[in-house]
Symmetry: C2
Subunit: 429 residues, 2 copies
């Protein structure tokens, strides 16, 4: 089987190479949280160092209980026996897709790996557009239409994936949309996989995240992890909450069978640390609060730079992503740069300016779309000191290294729009 | 897709439940190394705690370089760019099978997960018996025959998996067998996947382990990890060495694509610790030396108990497994216990005596075979103190807790063979 490296990871590696060569980079391609490890998490990992046995396939009881408590505090009552831990929520999603079989409906745009994993599992993704400014959740009425047509054409669609808060758009679907999605999933007899990895990273405390598990609890599988809220992506730990139903128990058995043959169990020391984190002691809660404040301030500042340059962008509500639309520049991009598609635009930004960004096509949209996902969380700094400083600053956008990134972004956008001024070209020459 | 939990992990969980209920157990079902974490490894893990970025899909350069050095010291020159790290060698094997596609020839008997993973990847295993007393490597002449026949029947066989030292038999294939296997693999144009996770655990320093990579370097993929030699199974780290050939470069690209969509990268702190271990500093070398001495002494003592009871067993040469054959007891088992198959025997041993052991059928042999895999490494003790004591003892079999396990084994075997004496039944009554 031939499959290329995940687009998000590929752009990360391309930028690392450029940096290594001493070339300037504007690192907005990769969705890594970009913050330091909290000392209590480092201690918890060290304490777990003696955890060298494989342990249960589903994960240590203390971790499953802590995760159940985490969901309980979010009004999703959870049986620890219906929690399964894995080495990231990504492998858990893959195992779920293998367990479910059949085709999967996903939002367009949506995170690059849903479609790739679906194909890896031997099925096909069915892309369904989202409602305006509500990323991550397929438009419920369009979902009915798409699934009905696909089934009429002989396709076996068994599940739908939702993401709220959303990657790539940084938006949060409304209660009404999530509720209606859950309702149509029930009518269509679809399992709902709700990826809630950004749940704790809403910028405004007043923004409420709704889960399909509130409205269709019997068929909703929820996944999360520590990669985004605690910036521990590289530690690799995720958890899945299976529904309290016959379906949930069947999925659990199949998931454990698959997990036992692919990864055995997640890393023991990391499980122990995760058990501590999901207990949400005060210092963890405070870290998450500070993080989401920082994500919000920088995402809004970046959105402002795009708008000032004449690029359309929906206001970010959560996480550290924006999904600017260069449609207004279409003629200009074609005439001045020979750029007609999203991937061409992404390549030009990467090659000419060292700006990492992913074209809408990577997220399941047409190559024609001039939308791009930019991630704002790697602008916080390159060193641990800079990142800690960003987390602690009253106004992170006033910090010189963040300010420099923002100014560079404006400069790049200006140069793309008005190449005749050749500001950067002149500087480089 | 429905797949049951890996047999080895399942028996582990069954015994844990029995122990929890206060029932006696003879834990010989699960292939966990059963030794404590070396303090230097705990320190190395703590030091790696700041590794929270995802890092390269292939693994950190320091880890890939250290693994290359490890192989170099074993006369297998290795390019760090052809090393890929994963969260255990198990996920790496699975990704390799997905990348290769097609059916896979495996030894009968062989580790439970080769066949299960092959099925999970959408292919079929082709079981080929091993030469007598040389587990893990399909008999080369039988392999030619089996692959030729399978291909004539339309099957697309693309690779063969070898394991030396072997699980489940604890034996090491001879140089002649490995060389001939490599030769026929070349003639048949098969990729060889050589699982060498037990390589460092040969009991006698004079026993040399040969790799198919010595004889067919252009087509041999080697996997290993820290689960067995350093007893770090629960930490989850493995590495694969791809061949220095066009095939190797193609496999690397496909493997990274698959890895990026299933697990992203192995846990960062664990990678850092593994980089330290693969450098083989003196304290690690000494730990491995002490471990293999312990494994050898206890495996030989257990083999002696089986032989004394009248059960045939090939002398163990490596790792911590034996593969006793109860064939001589066939009539007795049928008459006294109604046991006619390996799985029936395993069930009786588990249910009546709390003795964990896996039937040959789990390893791809016929259910009719009365062979069983027993693992000896969980006899070292239940506490860290006992296990450290076992590692340090001049004669571990004289330690009361290990002696008690050995005596219990003799008692169980005696009771199975002579139920009329009902020693254990009387004691229980």
């Amino acid at each position: 089987m031939s499959i290329t490296v995940s687009a998000t990871l590929a752009v990360n590696e391309a930028l690392a190479l450029r940096r290594h060569q001493g070339l300037p980079v504007l690192p907005m391609g990769f969705g890594e949280a970009g913050l330091p490890v909290h000392p209590v998490m480092r201690d918890a990992l060290s304490t777990g160092g003696d955890q060298n046995g494989y342990g249960p396939v589903a994960g240590l009881r203390e971790l499953r209980e802590a995760a159940a408590g985490y969901w309980q505090r979010r009004d999703l009552p959870t049986d620890p026996d219906l929690v399964v831990a894995g080495p990231g929520s990504k492998p858990l999603l893959y195992a779920l897709l293998l367990a479910l079989g059949g085709d999967i409906a996903v939002a367009a745009p949506s995170w690059v790996s849903y479609a790739a994993q679906t194909q890896l599992a031997g099925s096909r993704p069915l892309f369904v557009p989202t409602p305006p400014a509500q990323g991550g959740v397929p438009d419920p009425e369009l979902l009915v239409q798409a699934v009905t047509e696909a089934r009429a054409a002989g396709r076996d669609v068994r599940a739908v994936i939702t993401t709220s808060p959303d990657n790539p758009t940084g938006t949060v679907a409304s209660r009404g949309t999530v509720r209606r999605l859950a309702q149509v999933a029930r009518e269509l007899d679809l399992v709902v996989i709700s990826d809630e990895i950004y749940r704790d990273l809403v910028h405004a405390p007043t923004t409420v995240v709704h889960s399909p598990a509130e409205f269709a609890p019997e068929r909703t599988v929820v996944t999360t992890g520590l990669s985004k809220n605690l910036a521990l992506g590289g530690w690799r730990i995720g958890v899945v909450r299976l529904p309290h139903s016959e379906l949930g128990r069947r999925l659990r058995a199949d998931l454990l069978g698959i997990a036992s043959e692919i990864w055995s169990s997640p890393s023991g020391p990391v499980q122990r640390a995760a058990a501590y984190a999901f207990g949400e002691p005060p210092e963890i809660v405070e870290l998450v609060d500070r993080s989401r404040r920082l994500h919000g301030i920088v995402a809004r500042a970046v959105a402002e730079r795009f708008r000032a340059a004449g690029v359309t962008v929906v206001a970010p509500q959560a996480a550290f992503y924006l999904y600017p639309d260069f449609e207004a520049w279409r003629e200009r991009l074609a005439a001045e740069h020979g750029v007609h598609t999203g991937p061409q635009l992404a390549r030009m930004l990467l090659e000419r300016y060292g700006m990492g960004a992913l074209a809408a096509a990577e997220f399941g949209e047409s190559a024609d779309a001039l939308r791009m996902r930019v991630a704002t969380s790697l602008l916080y700094g390159e060193t641990e000191e800079q990142r800690s400083g960003a987390l602690e600053a009253d106004d992170p956008t006033a910090l010189p290294w963040i300010r420099a990134h923002l100014d560079r972004l404006s400069e790049v956008l200006d140069d793309v729009y008005r190449p005749e001024r050749a500001v950067l070209g002149a500087a480089a020459g």
